[in-house]
Structures are given as structure tokens and as C-alpha cells.
Symmetry: C2
Subunit: 461 residues, 2 copies
Amino acid sequence: MAQLDAALARIDADQDAALKRLFALVAIPSVSTDPAYAGACLTAAEWLKGELAGIGFEAEVRPTAGHPMVVAHAKAGRPGAPHVLFYGHYDVQPPDPLDLWQTPPFEPRLAEAPTGPQLVGRGTSDDKGQLMTFVEACRALRATGPLPCDITILFEGEEESGSRSLPAFLAANKAELHADVALICDTGMLDRTTPAVTTMLRGIVTEELVIKSADRDLHSGLFGGAAVNPIHVLARIIADLHDADGRVTLPGFYDGVAELPEEIAAQWRDIGFDGAQFLKDVGLSVPAGEKDRSVLEMLWSRPTCDVNGITGGYTGKGFKTVLPAQASAKISFRLVGAQDPQQIDASFRAFVKARLPADCRVEFVAHGGSEALQLPLESQALTRARAALNDEWGKEPVLIGSGGSIPIVGAFRRDLGMESLMIGFGLEDDRIHSPNEKYELSSFHKGARSWVRILTALGAA
Amino acid sequence: MAQLDAALARIDADQDAALKRLFALVAIPSVSTDPAYAGACLTAAEWLKGELAGIGFEAEVRPTAGHPMVVAHAKAGRPGAPHVLFYGHYDVQPPDPLDLWQTPPFEPRLAEAPTGPQLVGRGTSDDKGQLMTFVEACRALRATGPLPCDITILFEGEEESGSRSLPAFLAANKAELHADVALICDTGMLDRTTPAVTTMLRGIVTEELVIKSADRDLHSGLFGGAAVNPIHVLARIIADLHDADGRVTLPGFYDGVAELPEEIAAQWRDIGFDGAQFLKDVGLSVPAGEKDRSVLEMLWSRPTCDVNGITGGYTGKGFKTVLPAQASAKISFRLVGAQDPQQIDASFRAFVKARLPADCRVEFVAHGGSEALQLPLESQALTRARAALNDEWGKEPVLIGSGGSIPIVGAFRRDLGMESLMIGFGLEDDRIHSPNEKYELSSFHKGARSWVRILTALGAA
């Protein structure tokens, strides 16, 4: 275990330089959903290629129809070593609303907090900080001896905007990307001191709808009362999507949603998850979803519908008595079990069309989707990774679900015949997708140490 | 009638120069609701002061807590002449959505159309083109002899944003502004060839509400299902505002709403107003308001509720799975009869509060309001003005209602004890408050001629 100890010591000694590297990556505003940042996405990909090449990987930036992929390979020190594929994404969510950031989102900084030092900036947690834990682990292992596994790295640049180029890229590079197991660092710990492996993921369907009526914006005094108002039509549709018990009303929505197996339900009860505290941390007190479900069920094993954005008419300062010609909303459904994204999307579109009054029409823009996933619980890779995490954190890792969607896991299974281990070091209060996103310095540091241990464990004979 | 004929001839001969003057005023982007344009509002006021001084008025720009007023006085050629107060507003609506303008909103142009030449630009109709008809009439009368009336002019700069400074200004300048009758040019004709005097105005209540929930934006995957979504809450409130018959559901909303007197109902039936064509002109076909009401009733004599703007969550390009911390809407109610703006505002606020679920709070921003108005139908001023309009247009003017709100009329009655004559030359398809706003050249030209005739008629012994 001489190399393991040396590599862990190397991580510890190299902390300041590792932080500088992460901040250099965070400073690149690689917002994938907005075409204005396409140049920054390419810059981030090139930066990662350079880092990986610098530690001995054969690294390339590969073009796609959208933002490029970074693909890198390095061989283990011995023939017959297992082959792992590590996946992360270098793109980030838009930083708005900008005025709620205490410091600029792309000027990362180290901040002291009661729970310890934090790295603040867009992408520090999701997913730049997380993916760099793996890069730093590879760096430390390379610096102290041979790699314990053959390692392929795939960094995507469209995870936050629907992963549109991913299916074609996987299909075109099956042989190159196939490995014994995929490692994904885009999830969280159970809490600050308890590591976790995520084995259950919600799926997602995302849709944008635009309700259109008159051929121009109208004056609400001169036309109001006689002309249909598309904001009213949209509000009615949104209001109709949930019943009084918090259930989604789309016909067939709950097809394929099973009750939680008692074994897992029991494990979740034992976790000691405090739903009230979870809500209190963000200023809330009452679970808002389906009646008679625990907060953890609502988040991990129940489907949802949320409007993620709405706009129509005059939204600037002051008042404008306009009767707008259109109103639009972005809506997402989180899926569980065997819910079918296509069927739910079709049901949603029919639901909207059935509620259109005279003189209104609707346009839809699909923004991608994926089915829900349950990963195998008995693999050797999972067993070894759990032991390695226990070694680092001094605590048995918990097998958890995630309310978020990580479409790559389904794609790896479906397109490459490969299961994934989802191990991440984010915390629930990391404010990912929100202003003042942060990553704990301990997540970054002990995350890198965890990967050193996991790679060593996976590579053991 | 030598001066009348000379002044009319002068209007005809001076058309090109008059158009240049109007375009100079339209080119000033005096958007009152947005503080970014405060400088432009002052520029517009100064420009008008200069014009009025140039034709012999004692003109001043008077500061207020908001945008300034322009006040000007000129005496008639004989003692004992009647005194009229002319009111217009130099501020305009915001030009957005900018991308729907065929040419920039503040670069006015003359365009040929099947119905004749049009002046295109923000404010050409509402209200810069209209107020300049009166200024040009004064110019022509001054150029050809003495004024037939004592004339005071009041130009406001906050009409499109709630007229917040007006009450205090009227109160502080009662004696200076009081006249025998007020003339207001901010309304329309019945159609291209039929002049109108507006004698019935809807009132208005405007409110902005912001629904707030969590203390930050959340990730809809990690919190969706458990955390309340303020967009859903807002949509439910908006959906609840109307019942299935198109009636507003606020308790007490219809208190003070009387059925139309049969005399006026008959007049409106005789007008030959084509509700289907009115809607067809803007791409609609079916009246969307209260069941069993004619389009003209919906517009002129029935109260309404319209959402004028809504926003929440991510509204940029692409998709962002945010569960927002707040959502907001701007809502206006058009009032008729004896509806009480204060009572309706209170009812609305109670209605919203009664629908707030746990963990949600609401903030309101009132944007002003006014009661509905019925003007006297038997005054000598109205009789003379109708005859003058008949002389110009060769057609008896119609007495109409207006769906829009012109709070100044109520303020003149209440604060200055003065009734108003509302005579304007706008057309229903002028696209006021919308992209590509226009004013017909014939409205501008014959409007100025109309004021020459009206002032002459009012000033006759």
C-alpha cells in the first residue's frame, strides 16, 4: 500500500495548487444553454485537455454538433488491469439572477464559513469541483507510481442543456468508450460526514410551451374583456396540472410508478434524514408535494411536475397596460420507476391542447428527457468502492436516491452496456443552479483522496 | 369667418413643417415608466415649452416629484372670451418588444398604406401626434389673428405610468389651471371617416404582486416535489380570478356595475360597430369575455381583469431546471359605473392572501387607479364642438365610450370642478402600446383643422 499512502500524502501536499487549478476552470463561463457562451465552452474543453495531457493522458477535444467532448486515455501499470470510464461535465448553469450573487459567479473565491472553508462560484460544485476531484486523484497516482486501472475520461459540455450531442457521440465511439464500469462524480453525500453512493435516479421530461393568440400585443383598455389573454390561458393550464392533493393530473402520469420496496423504505427510514431541517435550510417549513408521502419519497421515489420559468406581457419596471399576444412557460416532469418519457410528453401535449380556447394556438419546444434508473446493488465494483469510501470517511457509505436526473447513466447502460457507480461529494446546501453556488473545501480535498482509494481498490488483483 | 378660413388654409399650407415638428418630438424617447429615460422625458418637456413659447404662449417646465409638467398660457383677442384648458401627455409607453418593430420606434417615418399615408413610431398616436394637433391649431390661429379663447395648456409626463405627480400638482395650482372647460385629445374616432366625442370612460386599478417562498432559487430535481413552487401558486390565483363564464370572481367586484341605459344601448346598436371585424383586425374571431355581452359592451361598459405581465424562474434561451424563489405578475382591473377602486383593490389583496399556501408570502405594489366616468351630454361646449366636428368631417360625431382609462378627466372634475370634452383622432388600428404604432396623416391634418374649428366655435359670442 506504499503507493496509496504516497498518493494520499501527495493530495494533501498539493492542496493549494489543486485549488488554483480548479479556480482557473471555474473562471471560464462555460454556460452551455446560452449560445453567447459557446466560445467559453470550447475554452473549458481545451483547458481540461491541457490538464489531462499534462499528467500523461492522451487527451483530445472532439467536436460535436453542439459543444465539444473531451476524451482522454491512460494505461494502468500492469496488463489485465480493469478499465474504468470516468464521466463529468464541464458546462454549468446560467448564473442569473446575477444580482443575488455576493461576488461575481465566475470569479471564484475561498470563503470561511461556520462549517469550514468553502469554494464559491458557478460550477464549483456542479460539476467542475466534482470532476476535478478525479483529475487530482489521477495526478497524485501518476506522480507516485503507475495507475491502478486503465482509465478513460469523458467530459461533456452539454449536461446542463439536455445532452443533445451525447447519443450520437456514444454511438460513434462505442468501442473506445466501453469500459468495465463507469464512474460518475455528479452527486452528493448524505451529509457533511457521511459518504453516499447514488443507486436510484429520477428521470426527466422537459418542455417549453408558447401560447399565442392575437397577431400583436394589444392595449388592455381598448381590447380587454373582448380579446383572449394568453397569460390567463397559460395560468389555467398550469393550475390544472396538480389536484388539491398535490398529485399531477396528466392522464396516465402515474403509470409505471411503483411503491417503494419495503427493504429500501426501511433503509431510508434508518438514514435519519430530517425532512423538516431539509426544508428549514432553504426557508421553508411544510412539504408542498403529494399528501401522505415523506419528504425523502417526494425527492427520491415520487414523480413531480414543476414550472421552471414563465413569462408574458410587460415584465420591466413600472406598469404597462398591455394585453400580450403570447405567454410561455418551461415545464419539467421528474420521473421514477418505469414511467415512459415519450408517453408523458405526449400526454402533456394533449392536456395542453385540450385546454386551448378559441383563437389560441400552442407551440412546443422539447428540451430533452430521460427515463428513471435503478442501478445494481450487488456488484464487486460497488462493494470495493463502498469499502474505500469507508476507509476515507470512517463511516459506512449510504445507498441513496437522487431527485435530480443524470441522463448519462441510462445512456451508458443502453448504448454501451455498462453500469455506473455514482459517487459524489456535493452537499445539499451547495446551492447548485442557484446564486452563490459553493463546494466545501473538505469535499474537494477528501473527494480527491476518495478517488485515490477507490481507483486503488478497483485495480487490486 | 375670415380668420377661420385663413387658419384652415394655414394648416393646409404648413403640413410639411408640422410633420417635421411632430417627428422631432416623437424622436425623443420619453418613456415615463422606466427611470432610464428620465432625461428624455425632461428633453420632451423642454422641447414642448420651446414650441409653445415660439407661438406666443407664456410657457414653463414645472418640476414635480416625478417627470415635469409643461404649463403654458395665452390670452384671447378679446376680454370675456371663454377659457379652455387643453391637456395632453408627452410621455409614451415602453417600445418593447423591440424585435417586432419594422423600423426603430424612435425614428419616426412617413409610410404609405392602402388607407393613406401613416406616421409610424412610438407615440405618433398616443399621445404626441394627438397633442400636436392642438399645438398646430393654436399656431395657425395665432398666425392669422387673435386667439378665439383664453388658452391654458397642461402637458403631463406620467400618464403612461400612473400619473403619480398629478394630484399634488393640480392641488397646488388650482387657480392657475381652472378653466371653463377642459379639452383632452387622447381618444379616438369611431372609424376613419366618423368623428367621435368620448363621454364614458372605464376606470382602472393596477396592482403588481410578488409571491415569495424559499429563501433562494432551488434545483427542481433536488427539491422538486417537496418545496412549494411560487409559479404554481401564482398560476392558481390567476386561474381563480375568472369563472367559466368569463366573470371576475373577486367578492364584491360587480357592486356598482349597472346595466346600460336603454337609450345608450340603442345608440350603440345603431353605430354599426362590427365586433367580428374588430376582432378579426387583430387576428381573433371569438369574444373572450363575459358570456351574453356584445363586444361593445365588453369594451365600453363592462368591467374586466387582465394580467398585463408575468414572470418567474428561468426565461432565457434553453432550459434551466430551477425551482424559483419568487414569481410575479402585473394585474389591472378596468372599472365601470360606480365601482370603487379602493374597495376592489382591497378585495383583490384579500383574494390573493386567502390563496397563499404555507411558506408563501406576497408583496404588493400599487400602480395607481381611477374610478369610471360619465361626462355630461347636454353642455353648450359639447353642442358647439359637435357642430364644429360635423363641419370638418361632413358627418355628425358619435358619442362613444372608451375601454381605456384617462384618470385626468376624474381629477379635473374632482379637484378643479371642471368637466372635459374628450375629442381625439386616433383609430382602433393605431397599435398604441404595441410595436409599429402609427397615426394616420389624415388624423394629424384634419385633427388640427378640427381644433381650429372647435376653438373658433367655443370662442364665438
